[in-house]
Symmetry: C2
Subunit: 284 residues, 2 copies
C-alpha cells in the first residue's frame, strides 16, 4: 500500500510519523473539533462553510486556529496533490494541544492541526445508496450547548454506531431526551411529508450540518417547501420518505427503521441527484 | 529538567517519544477512559478500586484492557522507580486505539494504554487546603449513561474549569439539567448538615468517585451518618460546611461559592485528617 502523507502542524509527514504527544488534550479529554468534507476533482466541497463552522467551534472553545483558513486551503491542495487523491474525503482535526495536567485549558497555547485524506465512498460521485436505520438507546441531552459544534467528544455517537453494527444496520438515529428524533450518528435527518422537505430545527440540539444547509439551498432552487419541525420516531413510519444528509455521502435514502419498511418518495432521489450535480459543478 | 519516562503499550519511553497516531480514536473522538490516583511512598492508593472502575468503563465501551491489572500494577512500580517519583500522581489512559475512519468501533482492535506520573499537589500529604468555588453555566444531562464512567469526553468539565479560571476561582460546581448540584469538575461534592455527611446520590448522574467511597468508609469508622440526597446550589449557603473529594487532593474544604462565604464545620477537617492518615497507612 502507498504511504499516505498527512498534514501535521504545517508539515507533510508520512503516516507512521503522524503522531501527537500522549499529553495532547485531544487525546486526554477530546478537547478539540473536527470537520469532514468531500473532495471532488481536487476541490474540497463547501470548504468555506466547513471552515466557518470550525471557526465558530474554536471561538466557543477558545482554541486559536494555528493557520488562517486561506493558508489551510493552500495546504489542502498540496495534500491532495502529494497523495494523488483528487476524489476523497478530507478530515481536518483541531485540538487544544499539550498543556499542564488537569481540565483547565490554561497554559495550553499550541493547538494541534491535522489534515488527512481518506478514500471517498464511491468516487467521484456516490450514486444512489440506501440505508437501514435503527433507533439508538442513547439520548442526546436537549439544550446541550456543545451540540452545535463538531467536537471531538463523540462517545455517544460511537456507542450508537456500535448498536447499528450489532443490529446489522447502516446508521442509527439518536433521539433527544424529550423523545424527539434529533439526528443520525453521522448526519442530519430529513423526511418528506405532504410534499414538504422536513427536518428537526437547530433548537433541537443538533449539529448544523453543512450538507443540511445545502439541502435547504436545493429545495429553494427546486421550489420545494422546507419545514423545520420535531418528529417522534414512530411518526417516521407514516411519512412519504426519509433520508440522511452528510458530507461524506451526500443524500442517502433510508429504507427501513428498526426493521420496518419506510415509504419511498421520488423527491429523495430528486434531491440526491441535484446534490451530486451541484457537487460536481462547484468542484469542476 | 529531568526526562520523564512514560509507559506506552508495554514499553517505557522518554517523554518526547511518548506519542500516539493521529488516527488513535482517543484523539479523534475521545474514545477512551482514564484514571488518576495518588502515589504515596511508591504505592498507588486504592489501585484496586481505580482499576475496577476502569474495567467497568472498558466493559461498557467494549474496549479490551491490553494488560491484566496485575501486570499493570507491576509496570506502575517500575514507572515510579524509573522516574524516582514515589510521591506523585499516576494517570492511566486507555483508548480504543487506531481503527478505520468513522464512528463505528468495528476493526479497532489494538487499544492504547498510557501511564504517566505527575507532581503531587504537596507531597507526601497535601495539608489543609481550601477552595473558592463557582457555579458553572453548563449543565450535566440527568440520566447520561456515560456519567458513571471516567471517559475521555470531558469538554463540559474543560469549559467549566475555564469559567473558574476566568472568575479567579479554584473549582467549579456543575449542576444537572434539573438544577441540582451534581459534582465539581474534578471531584465529588459533600456538605455537612445537622451532623450528617451529605452528597448527591449516584442516580444524579455523577462519577462514582473512588475518594467518595473512601469518605463513606471513614464516616462509618468515625461513626458519622451519611446521607445521599440532592441539593440546590442556593441551599449550600445554609449548610454547616462544604468540601470536594478527589483523588489528587483528598478532601478540600470549600470556603466560598460564587463569592459568598460558606459556613465552616470542624467535621471537614476531621475527615481530611482521617483521609490523610488512611492514605499514609495504606501506602506504608
Amino acid at each position: 500500500m502507498k504511504t499516505q502523507f498527512i498534514f501535521l502542524n504545517g508539515q507533510f509527514v508520512p503516516e507512521d510519523r503522524a503522531v501527537v504527544s500522549v499529553f495532547d488534550r485531544g487525546f486526554l479529554y477530546g478537547d478539540g473539533l473536527f470537520e469532514t468534507m468531500r473532495v471532488v476533482n481536487g476541490q474540497p466541497f463547501r470548504w468555506t462553510q466547513h471552515l466557518e463552522r470550525l471557526q465558530h467551534g474554536a471561538d466557543f472553545l477558545k482554541i486559536k486556529l494555528p493557520f488562517p483558513p486561506d493558508a489551510l486551503r493552500w495546504f489542502v491542495g498540496d495534500l491532495i496533490a502529494q497523495n494523488e487523491m483528487p476524489d476523497s474525503l478530507l478530515r481536518l482535526t483541531l485540538s487544544r494541544g499539550v498543556g499542564p495536567r488537569g481540565y483547565s485549558p490554561k497554559g495550553a497555547e499550541s493547538p494541534t492541526l491535522v489534515m488527512t485524506l481518506h478514500p471517498a465512498p464511491g468516487a467521484p460521485v456516490s450514486g444512489p445508496a440506501s440505508w437501514k436505520l435503527i433507533t439508538s438507546s442513547l439520548r442526546l441531552p436537549v439544550g446541550d450547548p456543545l451540540a452545535r459544534f463538531k467536537t471531538a467528544n463523540k462517545l455517544a455517537q460511537v456507542l450508537a454506531r456500535a448498536e447499528a453494527d450489532a443490529a446489522g444496520a447502516d446508521e442509527v438515529l439518536l433521539l433527544d431526551t424529550n423523545g424527539h428524533v434529533a439526528e443520525a450518528s453521522g448526519g442530519n435527518l430529513f423526511w418528506i411529508e405532504r410534499g414538504a422537505v422536513c427536518t428537526p430545527p437547530l433548537t433541537a440540539g443538533i449539529l448544523p450540518g453543512v450538507t443540511r444547509a445545502v439541502i435547504f439551498e436545493l429545495c429553494q432552487k427546486l421550489n420545494l417547501s422546507v419545514r423545520e419541525t420535531n418528529i417522534l420516531p414512530a411518526q417516521l413510519r407514516a411519512v412519504d420518505g426519509v433520508f440522511v444528509s452528510l458530507s461524506s455521502f451526500g443524500v442517502v435514502e433510508a429504507v427501513s427503521l428498526d426493521g420496518q419498511s419506510l415509504n419511498a418518495s421520488p423527491l429523495v432521489e430528486k434531491l440526491r441527484a441535484a446534490y451530486e450535480t451541484l457537487l460536481c459543478a462547484e468542484c469542476a
